[in-house]
Amino acid sequence: MNLNIERVNALPVRTWSWLGINDRTIEEDIPEILPFKKNPLITKNINNEKDILFAINNGSGYKIGTGDIVKNAEMDSNANHAEMNSNANCAEMNSNANYAEANSDVNCTEMNSNANHAEMNGNVNHTEMNSNVNYAGKNSSIYYPDMSNNMKNKYLESTIEKVSSIPTGMGENTANYIRNNNNTGIFIRIPSGKKYKEPIFLEYDLDGENKTVVDFNTIYAEENSEVTIVMHYKSKKGIPTFHSGLTYLFAEKNAIINLLQIQLLSEDTLHLNDIGAVIENGVAINLVHTELGGSKAYNGCKVDLKGSNSKINIETIYFGDKNRTIDMNYIMNHHGKNSNSQIHVNGALLDQSSKTFRGTIDFKKGAAGSVGHEEEYNLLFSPKIRNLTAPLILCEEEDVEGKHGANSGKIDENKLFYMMSRGLDELSAKKLMIEAAFRPAMEQIPFADLQDQISEYVKERLNNIESI
């Protein structure tokens, strides 16, 4: 089927169109989007955390639970759409309620229009609701184990409603597409004060049976909470596959979210990754992006640093070889006083690959004391590459510090000479330099197994290079 999305990764202010950087249009052929039959959740520790609201989206909305209980193989033939599973095995589930329909924010074309609006407004759901509960989420005394599933669903709904208006890096058209066509994803809401140190590992693995992953993820951290989430995207070689993911992040006061999106897709996968985040006072976000694979990789991330003393640190690495294209759009909107954003991008371009990086630091009025730093280092290895960079700083507040630096070029001759004088041949020396460029990001991934996987992936890609 045809995928056509316009105004992707748009710059917040336009410039001369002959530069070809204002935005992109995606026009590609993708496999038909079918249900993602795997459970993306790898570690099931979260099962034991009753106070964390966790749900897995199997394409027809979020279902509370960790997915063991969701059997995608069984399709209810009464449902108007193959993806609907109204025979979910969860004992607590009200079997009349269909979560897809209860959640009116999932813009699912799969919605059964005969279902639930009647039931939603009907008796059962409402009488169970505790009318003192504030579903906007401010009331942190809600204790999830005490909630009935219907209440949990309402809570989930209201959270998603809140985050769905967050603007994203790739733009409205992409976010809408993913909201309308998602077939997997997770929802997680950490209650206030809970520091969940166990990283949550998710794996989206594409193969012949699962050619499409359109993941719609919501991560909501209440006051003073902490969570670490790792999303690992990979795919089998030789099969055209499609991944597009949308992740909303919302962090209340002093929360910490660590999000690692490890993209090690094959060169047969079209990859889109979109993030929209809002962070309040004192929040710290750490974001790691390894954009190493995909035939074409699009990555957009927009963060509203609404709160004072909020900060975000982004480490991104990319690796372009053959005909790969990588297109990025990071926008940091500083609203809160003393907010801080740091963006570090390191990458290598070989063969005929091309990379576009747009990084915008936007100081809004009132963001006094804010600091925004952006740094980009690009190693270039071939005369046929294309390296497009747009490091923007927009400012309407005087008491700020904004800095960006970008460097592009070949490997330092002196460094190369030194390594060769130590016995390495030129090719090995250059490969080593590429691995070194990825080091800063690797250090932000404190999981030995994952680090190994990334190293293996990079080594394999480098092995296929005959000369650079």
Partner: protein, 475 residues
């Protein structure tokens, strides 16, 4: 030479005569063409006739007019809705002198003349009131001196007559009318400007200045500057001055085309201080051949809205470009300036240093483009832009783009934005300097890299201008 004197003398008389009855003339004009609004082919023909254009130029103007009517206004920069093209057309027609009455010149302009110590004689000229002016004499003296070296330094209309082939082979070849709407407008109604040709190997010791020709009719509004620096030659050309230039018509759509031949060097300095009602939509472009070098020095202080991006095409191997610029945006100003460079040959290099200051609600934008083509191996480029915010009412945006298509390159870019540090002010005040003076000193220091590239009298004037602008902030 004699011819020219006769012409200028007769022109002077003409100007004096018209001055008293300017309003009558205008009214007549308005009455006569109420039926056509905007720029029509008839008006363009009239302009061409009045200037005694050769036929090819008349046709050129007409083609440009067609383009002007078909191209849209740019959508990526400051809003141009306030620009009233119909108004401006009235000043483009021949026989309407582009002159104001001294009484109507805004008082802040007159005050600035006073503060900057501009001699009385020059004030009228700068204000577009068109009085007689000494610079005519200076201009002629300079012309004589450089003529001995074989340099041609004349106005565009004369150049069109006396050096037609040279002009024709270069005119709007670097900035074609199809480039954008205001290049097309310029192509249709251009008038006045300077033509300079420096023969091979000649080094022109004194800077040539466009200031000398300020009182020519149509001066400064749609003027076309065409400079050819032949092989191995050397020239410094200065455009503008720090005194504010007032113009009744509020659009400046000039065009500057610079041809730097092999091994030649051209330094093009500009201080623009158009009055605060002006739309400054100027296009400047240079092409540099093998081993050549172009240096841009630019100070933008005036105008209400500016679109100004000097562009350099590094066409020949080893060619170089240097840009040093400052933009100072104050109340009511939206100055969108920057620089563009295209590296098209190996071993080329470009260095760009830009500073911008915003205060009092002004908005300044630095917009740049560095494009390194696949053919430009071993090229280097370094862009550095610094922005200083003087209060929290103003805006400063930096939009630098780099498009690199070769790996054998060394491209670096850095940008910084911030404010005057409280510590620095405190230190200066502890040394007995008032806060206002301290701020002015710091801003002058910030502008120093540009000031030192200018001839002394210009640097002094620029510093005075900065001082004046800063006093406005505190006072």
């Amino acid at each position: 030479m004699d011819n020219l004197e006769k012409n200028t003398t007769s022109k002077k008389t003409f100007v004096d005569d018209v001055d008293r009855s300017i309003y009558d003339v205008k009214d007549k004009v308005n009455a006569s063409y109420q039926s056509h609004k905007g720029l029509t082919p008839e008006i363009v023909d009239e302009i061409s006739r009045e200037k005694n254009d050769p036929e090819w130029m008349r046709e050129f103007r007409q083609k440009a007019l067609k383009l002007y009517n078909s191209i849209q206004l740019p959508k990526w920069g400051p809003n141009l809705d306030e620009l009233n093209m119909n108004d401006i057309v009235t000043y483009v027609r021949p026989n309407t002198a582009m002159q104001a009455k001294w009484e109507e010149v805004p008082s802040d302009i007159k005050n600035t003349f006073e503060r900057l110590g501009i001699p009385q004689a020059e004030r009228m000229s700068l204000a577009g009131v068109g009085a007689q002016y000494d610079s005519e004499v200076v201009y002629h003296n300079v012309r004589e001196e450089v003529k001995n070296q074989g340099v041609i330094y004349t106005d565009m209309e004369s150049a069109l007559r006396e050096h037609e082939d040279l002009v024709r082979s270069h005119f709007m070849k670097l900035v074609p009318p199809s480039d954008h709407k205001f290049a097309a407008l310029h192509g249709a109604v251009w008038s006045g400007g300077s033509f300079v040709y420096v023969p091979p190997g000649v080094s022109v010791e004194i800077p040539l200045q466009s200031y000398f020709r300020l009182n020519a009719p149509g001066a400064g509004q749609f003027e076309h500057t065409l400079i050819i620096v032949d092989k191995g030659a050397n020239l410094h050309f200065i455009e503008g001055c720090s005194a504010p230039k007032y113009n009744v018509a509020n659009l400046h759509a000039g065009c500057v085309e610079l041809f730097v031949e092999e091994g030649a060097r051209l330094r093009y300095s500009t201080i623009e201080n158009w009055s605060k009602n002006m739309f400054n939509l100027n296009t400047k472009r240079a092409v540099v051949e093998k081993d050549g070098k172009i240096e841009w020095v630019s100070g933008s202080f005036g105008s209400h809205i500016s679109y100004l991006y000097p562009m350099s095409i590094l066409k020949g191997e080893n060619s170089k470009m240097e840009y040093t610029g400052i933009t100072f945006a104050g109340k009511g100003q939206n100055l969108d300036t920057g620089v563009k460079v295209v590296h098209r040959a190996p071993n080329t290099s470009s260095v760009m240093n830009s500073k911008s200051i915003s205060k009092d609600g002004g908005a300044s934008t630095f917009r740049s483009a560095v494009r390194v083509a696949a053919s430009a191996a071993h090229s280097k480029s370094a862009v550095s832009c610094e922005s200083l915010m003087l209060d929290d009412k103003s805006r400063s945006d930096t939009i630098p783009i780099m498009d690199i298509r070769n790996d054998e390159v060394d491209i670096g870019h850095e940008a910084k934005i911030g404010r005057i540090s409280d510590d620095t002010i405190f230190y200066l005040m502890s040394r007995g300097i008032s806060e206002a003076d301290a701020r002015a000193m710091i801003v002058s220091g910030f502008a120093e890299p540009i000031a030192k590239e200018l001839p002394l009298e210009y640097a002094v004037e620029m510093n005075n201008l900065i001082r004046l602008e800063m006093e406005g902030t505190i006072g």
